[in-house]
């Protein structure tokens, strides 16, 4: 909600600077951003009462005092004869109507109204609708303007099962479904109550006689409608958060006053239906209770002064204002007091709790440390899948049809993770995930699963480079080299995977409860410690690798060369390692295979850029006696 600083300070007796105002708004819990004079407020949903100039001013008055500058029409108003029936007082306990007829409406707007439209209000529509919008900004109470000429027969309010189209005053067609609170004339829906009026009864520039409806709708009756029908509605936003049920006559007198500022009024009539049946809420004065909640030592005078400053009436008890739907208990009052004192000014008091041991799941910790030690990376996947099994749990309102079931296996996600990394030139992939999965039979069942997947090279060191991750590798890791071990190893074939790679894929999935204790007993529980490393953003550009086979005739030079290679670092070298090391004693030479992986953070590297870099880094090495790269 946008508020103009100049408008707001009109309602405060002191005139704080923008900085002071901003600081106090934060202290009160009203987040905002400021651009020139406009404060864009982000209010918590319990503070519907602050969605207006006077609303914010009421809260700020505790710091800056209030100034009573709302001009109301104080003349007599004739009773209105209106054929209206409220068939659902539960949804709308109180509603008032004001009928105003004016002589002509071609007017220049007064500065306050003109200013509102030039800074916040947007496009003007017609005098009555414009006043209605301004009043919502100023007082927080939405009103709706019907062209009185369009309402000739009985008007009804009803919470009704609907299945019909309705044309809003912004001329969009909306199909109403299910139960909605609506206004009807002869069974025809003319307004979606609390959200938006209809085109058929809307005011125009020609309207001379307006019927202003001003209501309290129960938040429960309005909530969700504007989103359901995709209607942007300031009124709905306010009704959903609760408006002031006791303010209708004041609001309509203010409406009248603004009309009077702009046109000659021929007649004014008013009628109210229903009661503000919410009994006044009173809370006993109990400063000790407040101190007990906050841990403060306030005295009674300070306590009552703060509450008075916020607009509470103090009699024998504390009377909660009709617009404060959020205040019911002493805890609510404690928050009021804390806001006025300032959360940051309340002194801390330590609690006395004894250190305990963490109770991490020992099974999980052991499996994690086994796998991480052996080069597996843990992944976490979203549990949504399009695959529906008999025991899958279905999501009623999925993000899309590809995510309408809860996964019952980790396999699909892990295959996806593997292929994703293969597409990024990864040639040695070991991944695992430990996650709860949920299935339904008669009841919903929760079970913890481990899934792991491997494919590609066993490693990048010269011993493992040419060995492939395979069934034997997993048997060695998990099944103590037995083929019929604890863990069932399955091969995943690539023909269904849209993958042309040749490396075999092996997969293991098990319930944690099925892993025998005997297996876990052999695993060490590594103490967890965490370093928060400094993350370096990864490149989105493809990498390219270059392999070089050095022939080294001088044994003494081998380590020197390895050191030189390992010390090469460059912006575009992402990784480098020895993938082969071989001593041919007969020919008295050492063969050294070395791989560089190039990748840039800025672009896809061209062959010539890589070749240039290769030349630069290899030249010093090739200058060493009796070192060569055959073919280069």
């Amino acid at each position: 909600m946008k508020i103009n600083y100049q408008d707001l300070i009109n309602f405060l007796s002191e005139k704080p600077s923008k900085e002071d105002l901003s600081q106090k708004l934060f202290q009160l819990g009203h987040e905002h951003e400021i651009s020139d004079d406009i404060f864009d407020m982000e209010l918590t949903p319990n503070r519907g009462d602050c969605l207006s100039l006077i609303g914010l001013a009421r809260d700020l008055a505790v710091f800056f005092g209030k100034s009573n500058s709302i001009d109301l029409f104080d003349g007599d108003i004739e009773p209105l004869e209106i054929n209206f029936e409220n068939l659902s007082p539960k949804d709308c306990p109180k509603i008032s109507f004001l009928e105003i007829e004016i002589e002509e409406s071609k007017v220049e707007y007064k500065p306050y109204l003109e200013n509102y439209f030039s800074t916040i209000g947007g496009n003007k529509a017609n005098l009555f609708t414009d006043i209605s919008n301004y009043i919502s900004y100023e007082l927080g109470q939405p009103t709706h303007c019907f062209d009185a000429q369009s309402i000739k027969t009985k008007l009804t309010f009803k919470n009704k099962e609907c299945n019909s189209t309705f044309k809003t005053l912004l001329n969009s067609e909306v199909t109403l479904k299910g139960r909605n609170c609506v206004f009807l004339i002869d069974d025809e829906i003319i307004s979606l109550a609390g959200v938006m009026g209809g085109a058929s009864t809307a005011c125009t520039n020609k309207t001379k006689k307006v019927l202003v409806e001003c209501a309290y709708f129960n938040p429960e009756s309005i909530i969700g409608k504007s989103i359901k029908y995709n209607l942007v509605s300031d009124a709905a936003h306010k009704f959903e958060r609760g408006v002031d049920i006791a303010s209708q006559e004041m609001v309509l007198r203010r409406f009248t006053k603004i009309v009077q500022d702009h046109a000659k009024i021929k007649s004014i009539r008013f009628k109210s239906f229903g009661e503000a049946h919410n009994e006044d809420l009173n809370i006993p004065i109990d400063v000790n209770k407040i101190n007990k909640i906050l841990g403060t030592s306030l005295n009674k005078d300070e306590y009552l002064k703060h509450l008075k400053g916020l607009g509470f009436d103090i009699l024998d008890e504390i009377k909660v204002p009709s617009y404060r739907h959020d205040i019911e208990t002493n805890n609510d009052l404690a928050e009021e007091i804390a806001r006025v004192i300032g959360y940051n000014n309340i002194k801390s008091t330590p609690i006395n709790l004894q250190k305990i041991a963490d109770n991490f799941d020992g099974k999980v910790v052991k499996l994690e440390s086994l796998l991480v030690k052996n080069g597996f990376s843990e992944v976490i996947n979203f549990p949504f899948t399009p695959n529906k099994e008999k025991e899958s749990i279905n999501i009623d309102n999925p993000l899309d049809s590809n995510r309408n079931n809860f996964r019952i296996s980790l396999k699909e996600s892990l295959i996806e993770n593997l292929l994703y990394n293969e597409r990024r030139q990864k040639d040695s992939i070991k991944l695992f995930e430990i996650s709860d999965v949920y299935t339904k039979d008669k009841e919903i069942k929760q079970q913890k699963k481990l899934g792991l997947i491997i494919s590609g090279r066993q490693g990048h060191n010269y011993n493992d480079f040419s060995k492939k991750l395979d069934e034997k590798y997993l048997n060695n890791l998990l099944n103590e080299n037995h083929d019929e071990g604890i863990f069932e190893i399955t091969e995943i074939y690539r023909n269904n995977l849209d993958s042309k790679k040749k490396d075999k894929i092996f997969y293991v999935e098990t319930l944690l409860e099925d892993i025998p204790t005997s297996f876990l007993l052999k695993l060490s529980t590594q103490q967890k410690s965490i370093d928060f490393i400094n993350y370096k953003p990864i490149s989105e550009y493809p990498s390219s690798s270059r392999d070089f086979s050095f022939v080294i005739e001088d044994v003494q030079a081998v380590n020197e060369i390895i050191d030189m290679l390992n010390n090469i670092s460059d912006e575009i070298i992402k990784d480098s390692f020895i993938f082969d090391l071989y001593r041919d004693d007969k020919r008295k030479i050492t063969k050294l295979g070395y791989r560089f992986i190039f990748q840039s953070h800025q672009k896809t590297l061209s062959d010539s850029e890589i070749n240039k870099k290769v030349h630069e880094i290899l030249s010093p090495i090739l200058e060493i006696d009796r070192v060569s790269i055959p073919g280069m």
Partner: protein
């Protein structure tokens, strides 16, 4: 095979893998809270509306309960928990104060954009005893944030709104760039919630707090895009050794 001994070959590095940074951060927080006296309790990700909302004083009219914010499952019989608070409700029903619990894990909201994911992680804590106050809450939160961000970090409390705490606060820290960053939500446990869990709110009071694990991980590691955590990119994961 040839004899490599002659050339004193370099040690073979066995490249270790890594735990997921979100799980590392989650475990770090749980450990930190265990050191402060909080015991971890567990509960399901698929919850009833009663535990996820009603018991926590989240009324039917609250926006969080709408279909556009919460995933409903099995013909609206259950929800994917939107926070780990229902775990605390379940645990409070089964125990008597004094209690100090943490609950941690995956939570779900119907969101999917550059800064919001449909699944993320929370760590929450609750402490209920005689005479627990807002001043106690402030002390505890300061201690947690000093552990996380150092003793010199500047901390700011702001009034906020959660149906299950009253008073409620959001807590910011001042970043190096001079911007206040929202870090966690907390408050004095709403007595209505205690009563819902059969705890006499005249005798006992409580404090509660909740941290977004992704948020903490992003700040601590310097990851700017929350989506990176869930791409399962080995170039990313390998950094968190």
């Amino acid at each position: 095979m040839s004899d490599l001994d002659n050339i004193n070959p370099p040690a073979i590095s066995n490249e270790p893998g890594s735990l997921h940074p979100i799980n590392q951060t989650k475990d770090y927080l749980l450990k930190l809270l265990a050191d402060m006296g909080f015991k971890e309790v567990h509960g399901p990700e698929i919850e009833t509306e009663e535990f996820n909302f009603d018991m926590l004083n989240i009324k039917k009219s609250h926006p969080a309960r709408q279909m556009h914010d919460t995933f409903y499952v099995e013909n609206k019989k259950n929800v994917l928990r939107t926070h780990t608070s229902p775990v605390q409700i379940r645990s409070m029903l089964n125990s008597k104060p004094p209690i100090a619990f943490t609950s941690a894990g995956k939570v779900y909201r119907k969101d999917d954009d550059a800064t919001h994911l449909p699944m993320f992680h929370q760590v929450e804590g609750i402490y209920v005893d005689k005479d627990v106050t807002f001043a106690n809450l402030k002390d505890l939160i300061h201690k947690i944030l000093h552990e996380l961000f150092g003793d010199n970090v500047q901390i700011r409390f702001r009034p906020s709104y959660f149906p299950f705490t009253e008073p409620s606060a959001e807590v910011d820290i001042l970043s190096e760039s001079g911007k206040w960053l929202e870090i966690l939500g907390c408050g004095v446990v709403n007595p209505i919630v205690l009563e819902n869990c059969n705890i006499d709110s005249n005798k006992y009071s409580g404090l509660a707090f909740g941290l977004g694990v992704e948020r903490i991980a992003m700040l601590k590691y310097g990851v700017n895009d929350i989506r990176e955590f869930y791409k399962s990119n080995l170039d990313f994961l390998a950094q968190f050794k």
